[in-house]
């Protein structure tokens, strides 16, 4: 009986591993359909992500923002919220940090610190509105955050065109005093765009773990998400905690935008559509089962696939978009909880056999 119960409890790790394997199989089928050799393509993908120090640096650079957007979505999920607005909070993070980088004249180290903080605060404030509307007027955060993604996109575009540049499509490069790049680190990786944002991302993962599982406040945040009525009865403020959860989630997303801007791009340009990094965060959080360690692993996998995929397109001429198909398939398999489903089918069969 005990053994059976233990089997019933599904392992998130197993779900994730099976989903990744199935997802890559779907990708392989797509490659076969279009006449590419999937084995060659996958080998090219994984080797090219680690081929030279430069590639390793660029892979880590790709992983960095995915960790932060993944944490953002994951923390929201853990506190009962679906923050689909990570994309918008990410854009606001980029916008705030580029404003500080270009418009304020500060000494070297101070400048970058203020710019990073501005991005994180911007993300948190952008997430405040959906949290507030949910707490006070019961508006579902999924819809408001989708709408705010587009408002953020157009806001950034109009400010880049009309204020941050003289009518052009992108801002100037940020001054060195506001950059997150560090020569020592870059030179280790063949001048790749790897930057100090990595350490901020790792620190954020630790903050999420410590806050949610090692503090009373974090317990409240999770409790309010898990069962609002019981939490209210136990004397916790559901509304306050809900808004705070949303803002912390937005803070991670804003931090992601800030580090990506100050470390990787170093300027902000007008976008016709979203960056996609925020939406990728949803995939990362799901695959990582919303735990900080899981998110680090999932972000690494998605980062390797993303960077390796772009090299694969260049070298094996397999279109990069096959990686997006793999991502989509992985999301489906995790969401449909294919392992639990297969488990129940199998058990049902076993039971009928016994009878």
């Amino acid at each position: 009986m005990q053994v059976q119960q233990r089997q019933m409890r599904q392992s998130p790790l197993l779900t994730s591993i099976v989903s990744v394997i199935l997802g890559m199989l779907v990708g392989a089928v797509m490659m076969l359909v279009a006449g590419y050799n999937p084995i060659q393509a996958y080998i090219a993908l994984f080797t090219s992500a680690f081929l030279m120090p430069y590639d390793i640096g660029e892979t880590i650079r790709t992983i960095t923002p995915l960790i932060l957007t993944g944490l953002s979505v994951g923390l929201a999920f853990r506190t009962g919220l679906f923050n689909i607005g990570v994309e918008g909070q990410f854009i606001i993070g980029q916008l705030m940090s580029v404003i500080v980088a270009l418009k304020l004249d500060l000494p070297p180290v101070v400048h970058v610190i203020v710019a990073v903080i501005a991005g994180a605060v911007g993300g948190a404030l952008w997430a405040f509105l959906p949290g507030f509307l949910k707490a006070t007027r019961g508006v579902h955060e999924v819809i408001t955050t989708i709408m705010l993604n587009f408002i953020a996109l157009y806001l950034a575009n109009t400010l880049v065109r009309n204020w941050l540049s003289a009518g052009s499509d992108s801002t100037e490069k940020i001054p060195e005093s506001a950059s997150l790049r560090w020569d020592v680190l870059s030179s280790l990786f063949g001048n790749a765009r790897i930057h100090l944002g990595l350490f901020l991302a790792l620190a954020a993962a630790f903050v999420m773990y410590y806050l949610l599982w090692r503090t009373t406040w974090g317990f409240e945040l999770r409790s309010v998400g898990f069962n609002p009525q019981a939490s209210e009865y136990a004397g916790m403020s559901v509304k306050k905690n809900l808004v705070m959860s949303m803002m912390i989630s937005g803070c991670f997303a804003g931090l992601g935008g800030a580090t990506e801007l100050l470390g990787t791009a170093e300027y902000l340009s007008i976008h016709g559509s979203h960056t996609g990094i925020g939406f990728d965060g949803i995939a990362v959080a799901l695959l990582g089962a919303n735990s900080p360690v899981g998110i680090l692993l999932a972000a690494s996998l998605f980062g390797i696939l993303t960077y390796g995929g772009s090299v694969m397109q260049f070298e094996a001429s397999v279109p990069y978009e096959v990686i997006r198909i793999v991502f989509a398939a992985i999301i489906f398999f995790v969401a449909a909880n294919i392992v639990r489903w297969a488990g129940t089918k199998f058990r049902k069969k076993a039971v009928t056999k016994d009878a």
């Binding site: 797509m30 279009a34 006449g35 590419y36 679906f82 689909i84 509105l129 509307l133 007027r137 508006v139 579902h140 999924v142 819809i143 408001t144 989708i146 709408m147 705010l148 587009f150 408002i151 157009y154 806001l155 575009n157 109009t158 065109r161 009309n162 016709g272 559509s273 939406f279 949803i282 995939a283 799901l286 001429s317 279109p319 978009e321 096959v322 990686i323 997006r324 198909i325 991502f327 989509a328 398939a329 999301i331 489906f332 969401a335 449909a336 909880n337 489903w341």
Partner: protein
């Protein structure tokens, strides 16, 4: 001045058409209790299929039909995940958006030697004047010399109102979205209704997407759809999940989009940046949800997976 008015009206009709079709598509799905964030992806697969099939068969009508079929096919995983597997419907919708864009751009690159867009489609749908009516000054050229998809969209709106509010099928579909347990007690197959509803939403959203690639534009690339699916979702909500509401909202949002596009012709963008006009649909929808512009109330059972025999 009248020329400007005709121009604005014409562009509004042009851009409202895909939004109307897609919003009505979303209406079926959401009224049956299945959230459809995947409208963007369904439009994408429609735009892609219409362009590619029209290029191959030289007939935009075959292209449109193929798009409808592809939309049904693309909506199927959403139905399977959210109805049969009881997955989170928002997550499944997000996956549809990933999948549709991935598949479309991947196949375009695979088919056209790595090109990021399809070749230009020469045989797009052509404007279809309604004799007599198109001679009416100002509104005639805009409303009665439109693309066939526009007339289709208007027919779909009225037909959908009739189906959803005047037929047993529509009553059942709405019942399943409001109170599935009660509906099942009355003998309605909740799972089947939701499957049908999600597949209809795929067909209509995909037809809307086709309008972007073989009527308004004449090619497909990664940015052909760029947000139109989400504006349609906004129109559905701003229109309070009602066919005529969604129709009105989609038309109004089409107006906002057209002002953003042609605003500089008559100097509007000198006062209001086009980006602000682009934001308008989203801002209004948030205000509507918050109850400042009439309360938008979602179907009661929306987003909740259904389990036979549960409580």
């Amino acid at each position: 001045m009248l020329d400007v008015l005709t121009n604005v009206l014409q562009t509004t009709v042009l851009y409202a058409t895909p939004l109307i079709l897609t919003a009505i598509g979303g209406l079926y799905s959401e009224r049956s209790g299945v959230v459809n964030i995947g409208l963007e992806g369904l439009m994408t697969i429609g735009a892609f299929t219409a362009a590619v099939v029209t290029l191959a068969t030289h007939s935009p009508w075959v292209g449109l039909l193929a798009a409808v079929a592809a939309g049904v096919l693309m909506a199927l995983p959403h139905a399977i995940a959210s109805v049969t597997f009881r997955a989170d419907q928002v997550v499944s919708g997000v996956a549809i958006n990933f999948l549709a864009l991935g598949v479309s751009v991947y196949l375009v690159k695979a088919m056209y030697d790595g090109a990021a867009q399809t070749p230009s489609v020469p045989e797009t749908l052509k404007r279809l004047p309604i004799p007599g009516l198109d001679q009416i000054p100002v509104i005639g050229p805009a409303l009665f010399n439109a693309f066939p998809t526009t007339y289709l969209a208007v027919i779909v709106v009225f037909l959908s109102y009739y189906i959803l509010y005047k037929t047993p099928f529509g009553m059942r579909l709405r019942a399943v979205g409001e109170h599935p347990r009660a509906a099942e007690t009355m003998g309605v197959n909740v799972f089947r209704m939701r499957y049908v509803a999600v597949l209809i939403s795929g067909a209509l959203a995909s037809a809307g997407g086709a309008g972007l690639s073989i009527a308004i534009g004449s090619e497909f690339n990664e940015t052909t759809v760029a947000g139109h699916g989400f504006i349609s979702l906004a129109a559905l909500i701003f229109g309070k999940w009602h066919p005529f509401g969604a129709f009105g909202a989609a038309t109004f949002f089409g107006f906002a989009v057209s002002l953003a596009l042609i605003g500089q012709i008559f100097g509007l963008t000198a006062y209001v940046p086009s980006e602000v006009l682009n934001m308008l649909p989203y801002i209004l929808t948030i205000l509507a949800l918050a109850g400042f512009v009439g309360r938008a109330e979602a179907p009661a059972a929306i987003g909740k997976p259904y389990e036979t025999g549960g409580r």
